[in-house]
């Protein structure tokens, strides 16, 4: 087995290519990351009523997420405790029970085994139904309405897991009136490792001008992002354009000041969003302060470790579900603010699907990169090498207002380095106690030169 403590060099911004290829590393990722971290499940707005449910995956485990009688949300492994068949084939809906399609065992929405056909006759009343409920996901909690689950009862709370990133995320997730996802998600296969889209979304503003040279030119003529088109020059020093952050738990983002508007097809649509933002901004400033009011008006690309990415601007919200080292299922939603007028919500959803949906013009431009970044490492000699995420090294700092480690360079790979720092730490650490012990000194890897 490979020495996982040597895969990542945070200080110098170097990663082993093997993390995109080796089955043994992937298996360890499932055990140490996906079975221990908080993973995105759904949004409160998609399951508002008792019995509302969705099905999804945590790592490669199929789960059902369902609203209980008491209003709480619980999640269960979607596999019958009898012979293992799934108990729910639908993606979403409302139900009073989950019935296995194999022999008809029926479970309540609380996961308990309620009905066993011919129980008296074939089990002679000796089946202990109490111990045959669905396996429950240990922890389920929500942050600003976004529901996450965690298989590990020893894990920190969701809020603690998000750490410094929570302060940033509130700038858009906790908009006045709240946010919601527009369901259902689109679902598509990509032949890449689950980390390649995560590292792209976590703050790669360098690729915007080049990968998306074509679509930025056609679609973003009214946007500050247009300045990046072609990667030929920068109109202002990168520190004027925005910032970068990383956090204890590897979550990070790039924030481009003033970039949230200007990406819609018509002037009228752009004006409608800008008017909305202008009306909300004073409320955001009052509740969250001037810095986050500026972030509220900015374009973001970010990733919540390990596999949950988002954009502010093109309001996409994504999960990258792993399917082995070389494939993922991408789930894509649109996020909007709950109080927005219906027409503005539709404009945002249309734009999101045109840019980052299954027929999205920018999405397809990203995909080839994510796939070839993965597939090149099928070559033995190729994967002996390392990868470079050194951009912005030496420009990291702490700030009195902004938590975590930040950089004033918006085009930067600080958040990549933070993502892989925590990635390696999760692979190495045997327990959450071990991870907690590192929490006082995590910044050193970024700040000490």
């Amino acid at each position: 087995m490979v020495d996982v403590s040597k895969l990542i060099n945070t200080k110098d911004g170097i990663q082993s290519r093997r993390i995109f290829h080796d089955q043994a590393i992937y298996d360890l990722e499932m055990e140490r990351i996906f079975a221990r971290c908080w993973l995105f499940l759904t949004h409160e707005s998609l399951i508002p009523n008792t019995g509302d449910f969705i099905t999804t995956k945590m790592g490669q485990d199929n789960v059902i997420v369902v609203r209980q009688q008491n209003g709480k949300v619980r999640a269960f492994v979607n596999s019958c405790s009898h012979r293992g068949a799934r108990v729910c084939a639908a993606e979403a809906g409302n139900t009073r029970s989950f019935v296995c399609s194999y022999h008809g065992w029926a479970y309540g929405i609380d996961g308990s085994l309620q009905g066993v056909p011919l129980e008296k006759e074939v089990y002679n009343n000796q089946l202990d139904k109490f111990t045959h409920g669905l396996v429950e996901v240990a922890l389920v909690d929500s942050f600003c309405g976004f529901i996450y689950g965690c298989f590990d009862p020893q894990a920190p709370s969701l809020r603690e897991y998000l750490g410094e990133a929570a302060w940033y995320l509130e700038a858009w997730m906790d908009a006045p009136g709240g946010t919601e996802l527009i369901g259902p998600p689109s679902r598509s296969m990509l032949y890449c490792n689950w980390k390649t889209p995560g590292e792209n979304f976590i703050g790669d503003m360098y690729h915007v001008g080049w990968t998306h040279a074509s679509s930025t030119q056609v679609l973003f003529s009214q946007s500050p992002l247009m300045a990046l088109q072609g990667n030929a020059s920068l109109p202002a020093p990168a520190e004027v354009m925005g910032m970068h952050f990383t956090s204890r738990g590897g979550h990070g983002a790039a924030i481009t000041y003033g970039g949230r508007g200007g990406i819609y097809a018509t002037a009228r649509e752009n004006e409608m969003l800008l008017a909305w933002l202008a009306a909300q901004t004073p409320k955001v400033a009052e509740r969250l302060g001037e810095v986050r009011a500026k972030f509220y008006n900015s374009a973001w690309d970010g990733t919540i470790f390990p596999n949950n990415s988002f954009l502010v601007g093109p309001n996409t919200f994504k999960v990258w579900l792993p399917r082995g080292p070389g494939a993922i299922e991408a789930l894509t939603w649109t996020w909007v603010e709950k109080d927005m007028p219906k027409e503005l919500k539709r404009i945002i959803a249309r734009n999101m699907n045109q840019t980052f949906g299954t027929a999205g013009m920018l999405e397809s431009e990203d995909t080839d990169n994510m796939e070839s970044m993965t597939q090149s490492n099928d070559g033995l000699v190729t994967r002996r090498g390392t990868l470079n995420a050194q951009m912005g090294l030496g420009r990291e700092r702490e700030d009195v207002v902004m938590p975590g480690v930040v950089s004033d360079a918006m085009i930067n790979e600080l958040s990549h380095r933070g993502f892989y720092r925590y990635y390696q730490e999760m692979l190495v650490a045997e327990s959450w106690d071990e991870l907690r012990a590192n929490s006082s000194k995590w910044k050193k890897a970024h700040l000490e030169r």
Binding site: G183, L219, T358, G360
Partner: protein
């Protein structure tokens, strides 16, 4: 697919015209003549929609939220953007070129709700070959409305595709369906 009662089939002559329209459209799109398609075959008032339907139980009428997600919800200007993307020479994903090949079949034509409009059903099988190793296939049904313009020629006024493959194995649908 929408269920329509009392549908009146078009005449054999119009049916031939519809078929010629769909075949020409297929040829233009598959041979990278998207602009010719847009400018000669697409009505300025077009609604072009492709959606995917979340899988729910037949009996379930109480579930919350929308059941459909629209991959395309385009008007003429949106389609024009997609065509521009193909033309500006910077679309790295189409360079080397992608090759599309489609079979259009099961064509049925009916008189539309307004004079000069026809409701047209067709099925498509599309294969997309791209880069050295990628081959992807897509099968779907289309429900179109064609409208006869003042010049007497048919144009595409509405296209709705209820895309059946819930989990798109062919990565993306960045082509004219």
């Amino acid at each position: 697919m929408t269920k329509h009662n009392n549908e009146r089939e078009v005449t054999r002559e119009v049916r031939d015209e519809i078929e010629r329209f769909l075949f020409r459209e297929a040829r233009l799109i598959d041979s990278e003549q998207e602009r010719e398609w847009l400018e000669t075959m697409v009505d300025a008032e077009i609604t072009y929609q492709v959606f995917s339907r979340q899988l729910r139980y037949r009996k379930d009428t109480r579930g919350s939220g929308d059941k459909e997600v629209y991959f395309f919800d385009d008007n003429y200007a949106d389609l024009a953007h997609r065509v521009e993307l193909c033309e500006n020479g910077m679309q790295w994903v189409a360079d080397p070129p992608n090759r599309l090949r489609r079979i259009v079949g099961n064509i049925e034509g009916f008189e539309g709700e307004r004079a000069g409009e026809y409701r047209v059903y067709s099925n498509c099988m599309v294969t997309r070959n791209r880069m050295v190793y990628e081959q992807m296939s897509y099968a779907y049904g289309r429900e179109d409305i064609l409208r006869r313009g003042v010049d007497g020629r048919l144009k595409l006024l509405q296209r709705v595709v209820d895309f059946e493959e819930r989990f798109v194995r062919g990565k993306n649908l960045l082509f004219i369906l």
